[in-house]
């Protein structure tokens, strides 16, 4: 054979282009279309408020109280739930006694839809802030505890033996081997928990609150203030995006060994 062929590139089918222009245009296009549809009066503002109206109301700051209230509930509930979940997950993953106590309890209570517990929680801790924070805490606790437990159980036995061979005791093992081993699972749990927390926040605020974004959305609907309603939805999706983004950043900081 005397022909000379360059080695073919067979990866064409695998190629996935980023299409950066399309990405930007798609989002903008929808917003522009939305604005047009409302400006022309094709869809009445009662059903679909214009984007410019939504932005105006957002910028006015009149809804800041609601945002602050919701944020406080969210942060408290999420923080508490994450802290409790990780602690319980670590203990149940490491100590056989805690495992014997914890696993059946968690398995039995985990399937309860947490929002169904809100009336009970209101009965126990009152209709104030505590019941809303508690329901979010519960919602975050379970995915965190289960993920942390799984992470600990999947810690590499070789690394555990290595640590023990250098004299590591129980608490050293937990802190220096189990916890870092579980970190990727813990962050997966945090992302999952953030979504759950938002859902529970809105539900709780719709059921029993006189402030907060969930309250705002429901109240605005009752008064036919569609722009306000839409602002609430935009705020909620914004919260979801920001919390996810923060968690991704935090994960990069906390797990520098995963490139």
């Amino acid at each position: 054979m005397s022909a000379r062929l360059s080695a073919p590139d067979r990866t064409h089918a695998l190629e996935r282009r980023a299409h950066p222009v399309v990405r930007v245009l798609a989002l903008r296009g929808v917003v522009v279309l939305w604005e047009l549809v409302t400006r022309t009066g094709w869809v009445p503002a009662l059903f679909l408020p214009s984007p410019s109206g939504v932005v105006e109301m957002l910028a006015s700051g009149e809804l800041l109280v609601h945002v602050a209230t919701s944020l406080r509930r969210l942060l408290l509930g999420f923080g508490l739930g994450a802290l409790l979940g990780v602690s319980v997950g670590l203990a149940v993953g490491f100590f056989s006694l805690a495992e014997a106590v914890g696993t059946p309890l968690i398995a039995a209570t985990f399937p309860i839809p947490k929002i169904a517990l809100l009336p009970l929680l209101i009965l126990w801790v009152g209709i104030g802030e505590a019941s809303k924070v508690a329901v979010i805490t519960l919602g975050v606790f379970f995915p965190m505890a289960i993920n942390t437990y799984t992470g600990v159980r999947n810690a590499d036995p070789l690394l555990i033996r290595a640590a023990v061979s250098f004299g590591a005791g129980r608490f050293s093992l937990i802190r220096k081997v189990m916890l870092p081993s579980a970190l990727p699972m813990i962050f997966a749990g945090l992302k999952l928990g953030a979504g759950t927390a938002l859902l529970l926040l809105v539900a709780a605020e719709m059921i029993a609150a006189n402030a907060g974004i969930g309250f705002l959305v429901l109240h605005a609907q009752n008064l036919m203030e569609t722009t306000k309603l839409m602002v609430g939805i935009v705020l909620l999706s914004f919260l979801g995006i920001v919390s996810h983004w923060l968690l991704v950043r935090l994960e990069r900081l906390a797990i520098p060994w995963k490139a």
């Binding site: 070789l158 690394l159 033996r161 290595a162 640590a163 023990v164 061979s165 250098f166 004299g167 590591a168 005791g169 050293s172 220096k176 081997v177 870092p180 970190l183 797990i255 520098p256 060994w257 490139a259």
Partner: protein, 260 residues
């Protein structure tokens, strides 16, 4: 410190009741300041024996003793693992410091000691890297530095250089010998390379196929310090031949079994 392994057997049992006999009635000693190589075919229980000496496993029968005084601040044993076993979330520096942390050394002393060993093992400049950013050979050097850092009375090394290319392996052997000449740590060194065993050790303990038992202990009549020129010396060839004749039939049978 002297290590005495007395009539040790180890049988692994899994949850379904199946059991694997890894070691049968093994007795051997490693004298203080002695370098002993443990040689045997794959799966004969070499790693198991090291884990028993390190206290990471309990023997099914028999006992293991350490004889001699342990000066304060020195670890009894430290292990270099066959699979490296570095902590992926720790940098090179932090991996080397691990044993020192557990020994309760203050941070400044830890950092200084770790730096010394990083220098010694040729890892200078890589202190801030994570294990996944290192080549296999460098990872193993981190494992060695981590073990040497605690200044163990007995150093247990499980095929530390088997992942290295031949040239690097040769250089690392020289370095290990130099370190040993200086520290005179008692070393139990697992390998399945006859040349390596003879070149490094004072005595070579040859194990049979699984279940591992001691076939013979072959003394190496080479002077210290060792030099590459000794690789062709009559004493070297005699010891290597002796070991090969001991394990030849074992290796053949293992091969036949694997083929069947």
């Amino acid at each position: 410190m002297r290590v005495a392994v007395e009539r040790v057997s180890k049988t692994y049992a899994d949850r379904r009741g199946a059991s694997v006999e890894a070691l049968r009635d093994v007795s051997l000693t490693v004298d203080a300041e002695e370098f002993v190589a443990l040689l045997g075919p794959s799966g004969c229980g070499k790693s198991t024996l090291l884990a028993l000496v390190a206290g990471l496993l309990a023997p099914s029968a028999g006992a293991i003793y350490f004889e001699g005084d342990l000066p304060p601040g020195r670890a009894a044993t430290a292990m270099v693992f066959q699979e490296f076993a570095l902590f992926p979330w720790r940098t090179v520096q932090a991996n080397v410091e691990f044993g020192l942390e557990e020994a309760g050394l203050p941070a400044a002393a830890r950092a200084a000691r770790a730096r010394d060993l990083i220098q010694l093992t040729g890892l200078a400049g890589f202190e801030a890297r994570y294990p996944h950013q290192l080549s296999g050979g460098m990872r193993q050097r981190v494992g060695i530095a981590r073990a040497l850092a605690v200044d163990p009375a007995v150093l247990l090394m499980d095929e530390p250089f088997s992942a290295l290319d031949a040239q690097t392996r040769q250089l690392m052997q020289e370095e290990l010998l130099q370190i040993w000449e200086r520290t005179r740590t008692t070393i139990l060194y697992v390998t399945h390379n006859i040349q390596e065993a003879v070149y490094l050790a004072d005595r070579v303990v040859v194990l049979s196929r699984r279940p591992g038992s001691v076939l013979a202990t072959v003394p190496v009549g080479l002077a210290r310090p060792r030099a590459e020129a000794m690789l062709g010396a009559p004493a070297f060839i005699a010891a290597a031949d002796r070991i090969w004749s001991l394990i030849k039939s074992e290796a053949r049978e293992a091969l036949r079994e694997a083929g069947a």
